[in-house]
């Protein structure tokens, strides 16, 4: 190459750099255009149900300036915008903001309250529910919603037989419209927790003119009856919600909620730090949370989650048919190590299948075995016939991606804890989620790690599926205890709350003694947000209510 050609190359490189610079730099200005939002004036009249804003100075009617938009980042995704097929946590959260069912939870509690109904009656020993709808219900497009529409929505779920159809099919015998505002639901058998079922999005009314009657409509943005309606939806990219003018209830302070879908937590964290988003929600890495706690511009809001993790022993496979072996392993388990080392304290050790914060919860495992109780474990192992020379061989299975990047470390720590007894030798194995599930179901995996997200908020959902003989076949039909079966069935139909609590306490005692399933930890919920964002309410329902969020602007 001659000097002249070198010159050309250099010039081209410089041009490239300049273009690169401009390509890079304006992304930040672009960000600013989205976050520097218009300001709208909202008149605050009432603050019921919402923690009073810190900066409120007077209770009188004062024009306050709230930011028009709040941007939330999530790493979850919305799978299906059709309530007849939506069956995952995050999609349900969105539905809880754009829709409402007959019942809803009071923010901050696990207490149910009326949603789109004014009132309801239970008849026929818990078999018939008569729902009285509110009179002024309107869908997001302004069309009125009546009992007919609710019936249509519920029947549609049964017709389509999507993933969450069992919420209807397992319980409902028939639905009848009594009048425009009255719906009568007849159940197959009485269920004590049916109001909790009536709170799931599967029971949300949807506009019949927008949804096909017997087909899934996955990208439907017609929405339901809720404080917000969908104005923009780009799958896995962005979801924009704006206030629903036809919502019967209180109008949210924030006009627009933008939800940005991130592929990974780190990106979301950086977006939060750079101000691209106001709120980082599900799910930041433990590392990131502990880092972000140090950031003075951010607030970390912590709440108890209802997500639990546990070890399952297949009691049909030797030597785990031996209760002593299970007890020994339960005793040796070091929950704190896992919570601290892997999750940096972003989860809590759990000592029962019923999560902390839910009624009837008891720390049964802690009472019985303590924590990392090697002495007890050794004693139990010796009783079961094992020693340093004749080690108990354990094959521990985990699944690498379903529960996140941390799973391998969880398995490693369990191995570590058990091997500390000196009498156990753990082989760790893993399988992809589908294989993992199938092998478990076939009863081929002796020790497995699983997690549970509740479908409805009731102790029943944390006990019956695991312990009742008819219901725990997904664990390879491993464990069956007629006494437990009886207690669980009784608790399901008992209408008296105290009676039920009593029964569930008994169940937990038996669980701890038999130890077919050993709880490890309970998730905590974290919202990390800019300091100026208010109204973040976290409760075991695990839903973030967007309609409570607001951000004050100006002085």
């Amino acid at each position: 190459m001659t000097g002249k050609e070198w010159g050309i190359v250099v010039v081209l490189l410089i041009i490239g750099l300049i273009i690169g610079y401009f390509a890079a730099a304006p992304s930040r200005t672009a960000t600013i255009t989205t976050t520097k939002t218009a300001v709208s004036t909202v008149t605050v009249t009432k603050t019921a149900g919402v923690p009073p804003p810190v900066t409120t100075t007077t209770q009188t009617t004062v024009a306050k300036k709230y930011a028009d938009t709040i941007t939330i980042g999530v790493t979850d995704k919305v799978s299906d915008l059709d309530p007849a097929n939506a069956y995952d946590f995050y999609t349900w959260e969105v539905f809880n903001n754009i829709g409402e069912g007959p019942f809803k939870y009071k923010p901050g509690t696990t207490e149910l309250t009326n949603g789109i109904i004014e009132d309801y009656k239970v008849e026929n020993g818990g078999k018939v529910y008569i729902l009285k709808l509110r009179k002024n219900l309107k869908f997001a497009d302004g069309t009125p919603c009546t009992a007919k529409d609710l019936k249509w929505a519920i029947d549609r779920v049964a017709r389509i037989k999507g993933d969450p159809a069992w919420f209807v099919l397992d319980f409902v015998n028939k639905t009848e419209v009594v009048d425009d505002y009255t719906l009568k639901i007849t159940l197959k058998h009485p269920v004590a927790f049916y109001p909790a079922v009536l709170a799931v999005p599967t029971y949300f009314p949807i506009p019949p003119n927008k949804y096909p009657a017997d087909k899934i409509s996955s990208d439907n943005t017609a929405g339901s009856i809720g404080p917000y309606k969908i104005t923009k939806w780009v799958r896995d990219q962005v979801l924009i919600l704006e206030t629903n003018p036809y919502y019967y209830g209180e109008k949210p302070k924030t006009h627009r909620i933008i939800i940005k879908f991130y592929k990974d937590a780190t990106t979301m964290r950086l977006a939060l730090e750079s101000g691209e988003i106001d709120v980082a929600w599900r799910t930041l890495n433990p590392t990131d949370i502990s880092d972000l706690k140090k950031n003075p511009n951010l607030q970390v809001v912590e709440g108890k989650g209802s997500f639990i993790r546990y070890i399952v022993f297949n009691t049909k496979i030797k030597p785990f048919d031996n209760k002593k072996v299970r007890q020994a392993l339960a005793a040796a388990l070091d929950r704190n190590a896992i919570a601290q080392r892997v999750f940096l304290g972003t989860v809590d050790p759990l000592y029962s299948l019923v999560p902390m914060g839910m009624w009837s919860h008891e720390d049964v495992f802690k009472e019985k075995y303590g924590e990392a109780n090697l002495e007890l474990a050794k004693k139990l192992l010796k009783e079961a016939g094992y020693s340093e020379n004749n080690k108990l061989k354990v094959e521990l299975w985990y699944t690498p991606s379903h529960y996140g990047d941390t799973e391998a470390d969880v398995a490693a720590l369990i191995k570590e804890a058990w091997e500390k007894t000196g009498m156990v030798e753990v082989t760790v194995k893993s399988a992809e989620w589908s294989t993992y599930l199938e092998l478990t179901r076939k009863g081929q995996l002796p020790v497995t790690l699983y997690g549970w997200y509740p479908d409805y908020i009731d102790p029943d959902d944390y006990l019956y599926p695991f312990l009742h003989t008819s219901s725990n076949r997904w664990l390879g039909e491993p464990y069956s205890n007629p006494q437990l079966d009886k207690l669980l069935e009784e608790a399901q139909v008992a209408l008296d709350h105290n009676k039920r609590a009593q029964l569930y306490k008994q169940v937990q005692q038996i669980l701890a003694d038999d130890s077919p399933i050993v709880p490890i930890f309970q998730g905590k919920l974290y919202v990390v947000a800019n300091k100026n964002v208010h109204g973040i309410v976290l409760d075991p329902i695990m839903l973030l209510r967007y309609f409570l969020l607001y951000k004050e602007v100006g002085g």
Partner: protein, 336 residues
Amino acid sequence: MSLRAYVITRIFLTIPMILILLTLVFLVMRVLPGNPVIAMVGMKASPKYIKQLEHQLGLDKPLWLQYVDYLVDLMRGDFGRSMIWGKRIVIQEIMDHFPATLELTIGGFLVSVLLGLLTGMIAGIRSGGKLDASMRIYSIVVYSLFIPLLGMMLQLVFGVWLRALPVGGRIDPGLEPPTVTGLYIVDSILAMRLDSLLSALAHLALPSFTLGLVLSGIYTRLVRSSLMEVLGQDFIRACRARGLSGRIILFRHALKNALIPILTMMGLQFALLLAGAVLTETTFSWPGMGTFLVERITYRDFTTIQGSIVFYALFVALISLVVDIVYAYVDPRIRY
């Protein structure tokens, strides 16, 4: 034989290739262990429900019958519906993710070709010299760079330390241009949206550089050896003897001849790009086919995986078809 006849022949020849890939995919998916239905309904379903679903999906039929069904469906252009979550139409899922991958691979392709051409030309012209040696080492070193590590380091430097470039995603949420092609850069230009364009370019910068840098080594090597071979040929000497200037010889004669064999390699290069894109996408949270496929593989979402792989196969076949046709068009010696 005319070019058109050649194109037709070439298209016919891609059919067995696609069939073989389809069969391979089918075998891998259906014969190896793992039950999609269980993965699909999760832990809460009853055995009866699983049986029912298996029947619904035709998984209880004999294997050969499933195979026939599978081929017939594909022939009809029916990729089926996803088995999990939204049960969305597979084609739609692919169309949601593929443009992202395409944008990334095109970006990576351009970077790798530009870098490779530059380094390869320097090495080829200065063959035997110090510059040549360093370019050769460049090509080997660069190819050995492990994409995730390189990507993470770039993220750390440009994303976290300098805060100059975004570390993940395709565009700032909210700036998406109206979908026409699905390629944000093209769409932003069509919509005349400068903010979208710049955001898309900024997001594309690190991933495409990572992918392109790693694969540029191959081009360095190809361009170098090809150029060296061409420069050693008699006709180049003849050109010099005719008193042509160095630039004309290099650009009009040598480079043109040197690039033709490289053109034939581009089809395979694209396969490498697609493979590299899987790791790049995972590292940069790029919402493309790679992350999508890896996610669905863990759920053994058969229909989607099959659909995606069939799509990959079709795409690879299409690329090699295009490359061959361009080759036949460019090189007068090839008249089939």
